[in-house]
């Protein structure tokens, strides 16, 4: 072989070599991450296909999909699923709505805006367990701040047991979850709002659009992707909520099982009842639910023609010279 191979052939060989080397270099990290995710998940799938309760028998027979069939027939699981939906719905609507409101407010220049943004982050910075303890103390049945305020304002003449009633316990759980996640969501919205081209607002102003129309036809379409992302992750957070329930209910998912979501039930089944096979089936079902919910939101946000202000957005981008405001109608 000639010592002087064509430059192109040499370059091609070296590029392949470099590519192979790059792949090889990241392979350990990717393998480790894959192992850390794939192994537990694979083991969970395996567990979900066996009957495993050491208190009943040391044998772990393969039962196929029996655990999943049991889930469908299990009243407790169905009840936990409904509880999850009751909590998830309002949490998503309130959480995303409030976050957007805060973001719009904190995106405008005003004195103290930076301090406002910092204060907004405090709930998110507090560890979830600490946050749960704080709220539990606030709503304590005797001596809590909520009762102190309610009695001080004359709203009641006796202490209210907020966490002893199913309805109020769920409301408080939603409140705490919204309080916990709104700062993070608001931060994402602020970042998105800052990427909206300023000339769009100028064009809207020139065309005589009011604040609501500007929001609906300019702001919202331009942060649509962020809205979709936040709706998805807030849905996932609310489906997976655990620490807040554990702290507020003393580890029981009560009162009367009212705050037992599917994730909490999976914990009770796996760790309190030691039914590992059934608990794993529950966990895998939660994973499937989470994927379905994410897929549903992506589908809803992807439906063509349903994007608010899409037409107006296109006109504004082209640099509309019309002052009739027709394009923003």
């Amino acid at each position: 072989m000639s010592t002087f191979a064509t430059p192109k052939a040499v370059r091609g060989g070296q590029e392949r070599g470099d590519r192979n080397f790059r792949v090889l270099i990241i392979l350990p990290a990717v393998s480790l991450i894959g192992l850390l995710m794939a192994y537990p998940m694979g083991y969970a799938v395996y567990l979900s296909l066996v009957r495993w309760n050491d208190k009943i028998s040391p044998d772990h027979p393969f039962v196929g999909l029996d655990n999943y069939k049991q889930l469908i027939e299990d009243d407790e699981f169905r009840s936990a699923l409904m509880t999850t939906l009751y909590i998830s719905g309002p949490t998503v609507v309130l959480g995303v709505g409030l976050a957007l409101g805060f973001a719009l407010l904190l995106n405008r220049p005003f004195w103290g805006r930076t301090a406002g943004r910092v204060i907004l982050l405090v709930p998110w910075a507090i560890p979830p367990v600490v946050a749960g303890i704080i709220w539990k103390l606030i709503f304590a049945g005797s001596g809590g701040a909520a009762n102190f305020i309610a009695r001080g304002l004359g709203l009641t003449d006796h202490n209210i047991q907020f966490l002893a009633s199913s309805t109020s316990a769920i409301v408080i759980l939603i409140l705490v979850e919204v309080w916990k996640w709104t700062p993070f969501l608001a931060l994402l919205f602020i970042a998105a709002l800052q990427n909206v081209p300023g000339n769009l607002y100028k064009a809207a102003l020139i065309d005589g659009a009011g604040p609501w129309k500007t929001f609906w036809r300019v702001t919202l379409p331009n942060i649509r992707g962020t809205v979709m992302f936040e709706v998805i992750i807030q849905s996932l957070f609310s489906i997976k909520v655990f620490d807040t329930i554990y702290i507020l209910s003393g580890g029981s998912g009560g009162p009367a099982g009212s705050t037992t979501t599917i994730n909490f039930l999976a914990y009770l089944v796996s760790f309190s009842r030691l039914e590992r096979g059934y608990g794993a089936a529950m966990a895998i079902s939660i994973l499937i639910l989470v994927l379905l919910v994410a897929g549903l939101w992506i589908l809803l946000f992807s439906i063509p023609g349903r994007r608010p202000g899409a037409k107006a957005m296109r006109s504004a981008r082209i640099g509309s010279h019309s002052h009739s405001g027709r394009d923003l109608a």
Partner: protein, 443 residues
């Protein structure tokens, strides 16, 4: 050989690959080593004359006497080293133990247990059975319930705990019940509770804020109503007139007579209850022995003269109570069970039990210490404990304790909130208990 026209890297691919391989290989080798478990001892553990080595202990946060003095004394007297002594919150310990046992982890040789866990983990084959010949001769027999299940002993108790009644004598003076004697029957209890209820201070408070709290409170009232939870075959028998009386009484205390502090439905542990009583926030509690120590402590608004203590007055019987004894057990996967057994015996010895009585206010497991006049002098409530031995004191630890507590709590909570009647609640709970009993005993 092709000639490279590029300037090569200062570190060659070969050397980097070699380094990466070495790192990966080391990681794999490190992963291969780990806790190796010795084969479990078959048959009940009898122990050996002079065990050696070291042990690790996982306890709850009830006692401080072990870390304060007992461990040092144990090491000195046996030569066995206590490598680690960890205390975890009782409410979180079950899951920690379950995870450890499921993984056949030998990280801890000695673990804390009580009646429910001895049954649960014992049935699962995760606790080492101990031969009765290895038990200290003067162990109070009822205390063994905390560490036994179906005739097998899985540990040695570390203290005895039985609930008795504590009352605030100053508040009780407003009633027609003699504060020096306290209520002797249920009518007197109710009368005293009504007199003591003023404003935010209620005559009676309990801790029903979580599953375990609901179960033990319901069980106590069931026993006070003359009932039982299970028969000898562990079939539920609480769905009868006794059970209905018990749950109806609880509901009436809260809603009809309004003498039960509504915060009882949110209080999740006995420590909070103890603090409330010590702060003169309630007139009467049914609580564990530690109540006395907290109520006579420096932060308390009460003292030995203003606290009354006596038997819990029954509704249909003179008295009854629930047992909360705790013990130590040996991890089936431990690598040094003999040394672990030595610790169990030491914790039940006269030396340690005296400190548990005098320093912490718990009841002893040793009969010698129980009968010692010095014990009664330092812990007057021991007299009441001796009286409880004449009446039914139960806990009903079963392998399905955790599961049943959750189901029972759901029904009792609904009844307490008047969403369903006591009868409906008991029927639902009893049906579930029967299913669980069949599931765990018949397979």
């Amino acid at each position: 050989m092709a000639v490279s026209h590029h300037r090569g890297p200062t570190i060659s691919r070969r050397s980097l690959l070699g380094l990466g391989g070495a790192v990966l290989g080391s990681a794999v080798l490190a992963g291969c080593t780990g806790n190796s478990t010795t084969p479990s001892t078959s048959g009940p553990l009898k122990g050996v004359a002079s065990p050696k080595g070291s042990i690790r202990i996982l306890d709850d946060n009830t006692n401080s006497v072990f870390k304060d003095s007992a461990i040092a004394a144990f090491e000195k007297s046996t030569g066995i080293k206590v490598e680690k002594y960890v205390q975890a919150n009782f409410n979180d310990l079950h899951d920690q133990l379950a995870t450890m046992f499921s993984a056949q982890d030998s990280s801890y040789d000695v673990v804390m247990t009580w009646a429910g866990w001895s049954a649960e983990f014992g049935q699962a084959g995760w606790l080492q059975e101990i031969s009765r010949s290895a038990l200290p001769a003067d162990t109070i027999k009822p205390a063994l319930d905390a560490v036994s299940w179906r005739g097998k002993v899985y540990g040695i108790p570390k203290f005895v705990s039985v609930q008795t009644m504590f009352w605030n004598k100053k508040l009780m003076a407003a009633s027609d019940v003699d504060p020096s004697k306290g209520p002797q029957n249920w009518d007197e209890f109710l009368s005293a509770a009504k007199s003591m209820t003023k404003g935010d201070v209620y005559g009676y408070t309990c801790d029903m804020g979580n599953d375990a709290g609901v179960k033990q409170n319901f069980l106590r009232f069931l026993l006070l109503a003359g009932g039982d939870m299970y028969d000898s075959n562990y079939q539920p028998i609480f769905n009868d007139e006794h059970g209905e009386l018990a749950l109806t009484t609880m509901v009436e205390l809260l809603h009809k007579y309004k003498v039960m502090n509504p915060a009882s439905l949110q209080i999740t542990n006995s420590s909070d209850l103890s603090s409330l009583f010590a702060g003169a926030g309630t007139g009467m509690v049914f609580n564990w022995p530690q109540q006395y120590a907290i109520a006579t402590g420096k932060d308390s608004k009460l003292d030995a003269q203003t606290i009354g203590n006596g038997l819990i007055p029954g509704i249909k019987v003179r008295s009854a109570s629930i047992d909360g004894s705790e013990g130590f057990a040996i991890n089936k996967f431990s690598n040094n069970k003999d040394a672990a057994l030595a610790w169990l015996k030491f914790a039940a010895s006269q030396q340690v039990q005296t400190k548990i009585v005098q320093d912490e206010g718990w009841f002893p497991v040793s009969k010698k210490v129980l009968d010692d006049p010095a014990s009664i002098r330092s812990l007057p409530v021991l007299k009441t404990y001796s009286q409880t031995l004449d009446y039914k004191t139960k806990r009903y630890g079963t392998p399905w304790s955790s599961e049943f507590s959750h189901d029972l709590a759901i029904q009792v909570d609904k009844a307490m909130n008047r969403e369903i009647s006591p009868k409906q609640a008991l029927k639902a709970a009893s049906d579930k208990a029967a299913q669980l009993s069949d599931k765990y005993l018949k397979g």
